[in-house]
C-alpha cells in the first residue's frame, strides 16, 4: 500500500514521523511525563501516535483527563473504551474537586463556564503527580497566540508561560533541561493543521466520539454560536432550544463549545466540509470570543 516515489514521504507521514520523534524525546528526556487527554480529536490523534511510538510496548506514561463535569456522555464512553483498547493508565482530575476544596470559585451567571477553572485543576494535578512534562494536542494553526509556541514549551515554577522567554528550537534538537519545580508543556502536533488531523484520522482509520458526526440535537443560539442544550446551561430570556442537525468541530466544556449545522456523517464528508469551511474551528468557542487576546492570557496562566 505504501507508495514511495524515490525516497519521498507524504506530508502526513512527515508529520507523523516528527510527532513520534518528539514523543520519544519526551519519554527519554523527562522523569515523569504525562499525556493530557481531553477526548477531542487532537488528543486522540496524539494518543494514537504515542501508541505507535512505543509499539509493541505500551506508552511509558499515563494519560490525564481534566474533567470539567460538563461532559457529553458520548465522549466519556469513548474515552473509557479508547483507554481500554490501548491499555493505557488513565488519571482523571475533576474541576468539581477543585471547587469543593475552595481552590477555585465557580463563575456565576448564565454565561458561566468552567473552562478557565480547568487551569487550576490541571496545575494541581501536575504538581500532585510530580509530572515534569505534560503533552498536549494543541496545534499552532489553531489560534494566533499559538503560532509562536514551541514543541518544548518551558513553564516556570508557577506553571506560567512567558512568550518572550522561550527557547529557540533548531533542527530536531530539543532542550528539555529545567530546574526542580519547573515543567514543560510539549506539543507533538505543533505542525499539524485541522485538515491534517482529519486526513490522518482517515488514513489511520481512527474511531472518533459520535458527537463529531452529524446528528440531531436541541440547541440554542447565543452570541452567534450554537450551543447544545444540556443540564449545565442556564437559558437566557428569549432563548428557546430548537432541534437542528449539527456536529461538533472541537470537544470541550459543554457550556462553551459551539457546534455547527452539518450533515457530514463520515470522515470523508467532514474533510469536504473542512476544505470548504470559512470559519475557524475555534470560531465556535465562546471562551475565545471574550477578547482578542483571550487565548494568550489563559496560556500565560498555564492553560493547555
Amino acid at each position: 500500500m505504501e507508495q514511495h516515489h524515490g525516497y519521498r514521504l507524504t506530508h502526513l507521514k512527515h508529520l507523523e514521523a516528527e510527532a513520534i520523534f518528539v514523543i520519544r524525546e519526551v519519554a527519554a528526556q523527562f522523569q515523569r511525563p504525562v499525556l493530557l487527554f481531553s477526548g477531542g480529536k487532537d488528543s486522540i490523534v496524539m494518543a494514537h501516535v504515542a501508541r505507535k511510538a512505543f509499539w509493541p510496548a505500551r506508552p511509558p506514561f499515563p494519560m490525564m483527563h481534566i474533567d470539567t463535569g460538563h461532559n457529553f456522555p458520548e465522549t466519556i464512553a469513548y474515552r473509557d473504551q479508547f483507554m481500554h483498547d490501548i491499555g493505557a493508565e488513565l488519571i482523571v482530575k475533576y474541576v468539581q474537586d477543585s471547587i469543593d476544596q475552595g481552590r477555585v470559585a465557580e463563575e456565576k451567571g448564565p454565561r458561566a463556564s468552567r473552562n478557565k477553572l480547568q487551569t487550576v485543576t490541571l496545575l494541581d494535578g501536575l504538581e500532585e503527580g510530580q509530572y515534569d512534562a505534560a503533552m498536549g494536542g494543541a496545534r499552532r494553526d489553531e489560534e494566533k497566540a499559538r503560532a509562536k509556541e514551541r514543541f518544548f514549551s518551558h513553564r516556570d515554577d508557577f506553571g506560567q508561560w512567558d512568550p518572550k522567554n522561550q527557547r529557540p528550537e533548531l533542527w530536531n534538537l530539543f532542550n528539555g533541561k529545567k530546574n526542580v519545580g519547573e515543567h514543560f508543556r510539549i506539543f507533538p502536533l505543533s505542525n499539524w493543521t485541522e485538515m491534517d488531523i482529519w486526513q490522518y484520522i482517515k488514513l489511520e482509520n481512527i474511531p472518533l466520539p459520535s458527537i463529531y458526526f452529524s446528528h440531531e440535537r436541541e440547541v440554542i443560539e447565543r452570541d452567534g454560536v450554537l450551543l447544545a442544550q444540556t443540564d449545565f446551561i442556564t437559558l437566557l430570556d428569549g432563548e428557546t432550544p430548537e432541534k437542528r442537525t449539527i456536529r461538533f468541530r472541537t470537544v470541550g466544556d459543554a457550556t462553551c463549545t459551539g457546534c455547527c449545522e452539518s450533515t457530514a456523517s463520515t470522515v470523508d464528508d467532514i474533510i469536504e466540509e473542512v476544505a470548504a469551511a470559512r470559519q475557524t474551528e475555534r470560531g465556535g468557542r465562546a471562551d475565545d470570543k471574550r477578547s482578542e487576546t483571550a487565548m494568550e492570557d489563559r496560556k500565560k496562566e498555564g492553560y493547555f
Binding site: L9, H11, H14, R51, A57, L170, L173, K177, Q279, T280
Partner: protein, 425 residues
C-alpha cells in the same frame, strides 16, 4: 473523493521568509495565506476590526500574522512564528522570522528546518546590507533554494530596468556564497502581482508566480539518502508475554536508507550485526529512509542505548572529541566563555563541551573575517574549536544537516545559547 486522494499524496515544503523591517514581509505572508484560503472569515473580521481601530485605510493583511499582545502593543514582531497553508499540491510551513535586533538568531532558527528561503528586497532600495546577511545565513544553514522577491514593484512603475539591475547586483554578491539555486521574482505583495497569479503589469517577466515557484521547487535533496545513519532514541522492551523477546531500537533515520537484512555497525561500540526487522507500529517494512521514525530489531544481542548510532560498516561517520564548527551565539545575557563547560546536544546524544578557541568572527554584512574582536555575543557568527567529554558520532553539516548540527546549553540557566554546524576537518 478527489480532494482526499490528492491530499494523501501531497508533499511538504518548509520555507523561511526574511526581509528588513517594512520590506513587506507580513503583507506578503498575509497575501499568501489569504489567497490560498488559509484565512477564515472570523480571522479576517478580527483583522478588519483591528485595522479600523488603528486607523488604517485598507485592511492591513500584515495584521493576520501578527501574534502576541506585546508585539501588537509595540507594533513589531519579536520571534519566530510558524504559519501553515496548503494548495492541492503541497502543504507549506512558513517560519516567519521578523527583522529586529534578535534577527540573526531568529533567522538561523527558522532556516535550520527550512528547504527554501524567501528573501525580500524593496525595489526602491535595492540590495542592501541586510539582503547580504539574509543570503549568507541561508547559505550557511545549507538552504538549497533561495527565492529573491523584489517587492513594491508598483512603486517603481513595474519597470524592468529596476528589477534587472537588482538581479545583477544580487548575483554579483551571491557568487561568493554557496547557494545552488536562486530564483528572482518581481512582485507587489500589496496588490498581489506575481504572488499567486502571474501579473499582466509585468509582461516582460518570463518566470512563474511566487506560489508556482513554491509549488514546483525541487525538494528531493532535503534529506541525505546516501549515508545510512540511525540515531537511537529509546529502547523498546515490552513487559508482555506476547512480545517477551522483542527488543526494538527506536529512533529516526537521520541519513540514508536501511533495509531488512542489511549488515550494520553500532557506534561507538563498533559491533556488527544484521537488521532483523524494521517496525512501524504493527507493520513491518522492507526499508526505512530519512527522516522516518521506526524501530529496528537486530539479529544479535548487542548492548545499545540512547545516543548510540547505527550505521553501515562501509560508510562510517567521523567519531571524535575534537571538532571545528561555525556557531551562532544566541544568548543576550552572556557571551561565549572559552574554557567553560557547556552541555552539547547532538542527535540523541548529550555530552559536555568546552570551546577552546574562537578562530574568527564573521561580519555577516560584508562576509569579512573579524580577527581582532573574538568575543561571541548575541547574533554573532564565528568559527570555533571544541573539545567534547565523549566522542561525537558526526558528519560535516554540509553533508548531513541532522548529524552535523548541535546546540550548546548553558547549565546555569538551562538556556540554549548557541547553534553549531560541524565543519569538515
Amino acid at each position: 473523493m478527489t480532494a482526499t486522494k490528492g491530499y494523501l499524496d501531497m508533499d511538504l515544503l518548509r520555507f523561511t521568509t526574511a526581509g528588513s523591517v517594512d520590506d513587506g514581509k507580513s503583507t506578503l505572508i498575509g497575501r499568501l495565506l489569504y489567497d490560498s484560503k488559509a484565512i477564515f472569515e472570523d480571522q479576517l473580521e478580527a483583522v478588519e476590526q483591528s485595522s479600523k481601530q488603528r486607523g488604517d485605510e485598507i485592511v492591513n493583511l500584515a495584521l493576520l500574522t501578527d501574534g502576541l499582545r506585546a508585539e501588537r502593543e509595540q507594533g513589531i514582531t519579536i520571534d519566530v512564528a510558524y504559519r501553515y497553508f496548503a494548495t492541492p499540491k503541497r502543504k507549506f510551513i512558513i517560519a516567519d522570522t521578523p527583522g529586529h535586533i534578535q534577527y540573526t538568531r531568529n533567522m538561523v532558527t527558522g532556516a535550520s528546518t527550512a528547504n527554501l528561503a524567501i528573501v525580500l528586497i524593496d525595489a526602491r532600495k535595492g540590495v542592501i546590507e541586510q539582503t547580504c546577511r539574509h543570503a549568507f545565513i541561508a547559505s550557511l544553514l545549507q538552504i538549497q533554494h533561495v527565492v529573491i522577491c523584489v517587492n513594491k514593484m508598483d512603486l517603481v512603475d513595474y519597470k524592468q530596468e529596476v528589477f534587472d539591475s537588482i538581479v545583477a547586483d544580487f548575483k554579483n554578491f551571491a557568487s561568493r556564497l554557496n547557494i545552488p539555486h536562486i530564483d528572482f521574482i518581481p512582485i507587489s505583495a500589496l496588490n498581489g502581482d506575481n504572488v499567486v497569479d502571474k501579473s499582466d503589469k509585468m509582461p516582460w517577466f518570463q518566470g512563474g508566480s511566487l506560489l508556482y515557484t513554491l509549488e514546483t521547487a525541487y525538494i528531493g535533496h532535503e534529506f541525505n539518502h546516501v549515508d545510512p545513519r540511525f540515531s537511537v532514541q529509546w529502547v523498546i522492551r515490552p513487559q508482555s508475554k506476547e512480545h517477551h523477546d522483542f527488543r526494538g531500537f527506536s529512533g529516526r533515520v537521520v541519513g540514508g536508507v536501511f533495509r531488512k537484512g542489511d549488515e550494520v555497525m553500532v557506534l561507538p561500540s563498533g559491533f556488527t550485526t544484521r537488521i532483523k526487522g524494521i517496525h512501524e507500529f504493527e507493520k513491518e517494512l522492507d526499508e526505512a529512509f530519512s527522516p522516518m521514525s521506526v524501530a529496528l530489531t537486530l539479529e544479535d544481542e548487542i548492548d545499545i542505548s540512547r545516543g548510540d548510532m547505527i550505521v553501515k560498516p562501509n560508510n562510517k561517520p567521523s567519531v571524535g572529541q575534537d571538532l571545528e564548527a561555525m556557531i551562532c551565539w544566541f544568548s543576550e545575557s552572556s557571551s561565549l566563555q572559552t574554557g567553560r563547560k557547556y552541555a552539547l546536544l547532538h542527535t540523541s546524544k548529550e555530552v559536555k563541551a568546552i570551546v577552546k578557541d574562537v578562530r574568527y568572527k564573521i561580519d555577516v554584512n560584508t562576509l569579512h573575517k573579524i580577527e581582532d574582536d573574538r568575543e561571541m555575543k548575541l547574533n554573532d557568527i564565528g568559527r570555533v574549536v571544541l573539545r567534547t567529554s565523549a566522542p561525537l558520532i558526526h558528519d560535516p553539516y554540509t553533508r548531513n544537516r541532522l548529524t552535523g548540527s548541535f546546540i550548546l546549553v548553558d547549565e546555569m540557566t538551562n538556556n540554549t545559547v548557541a547553534a553549531g554546524m560541524i565543519l569538515e576537518r
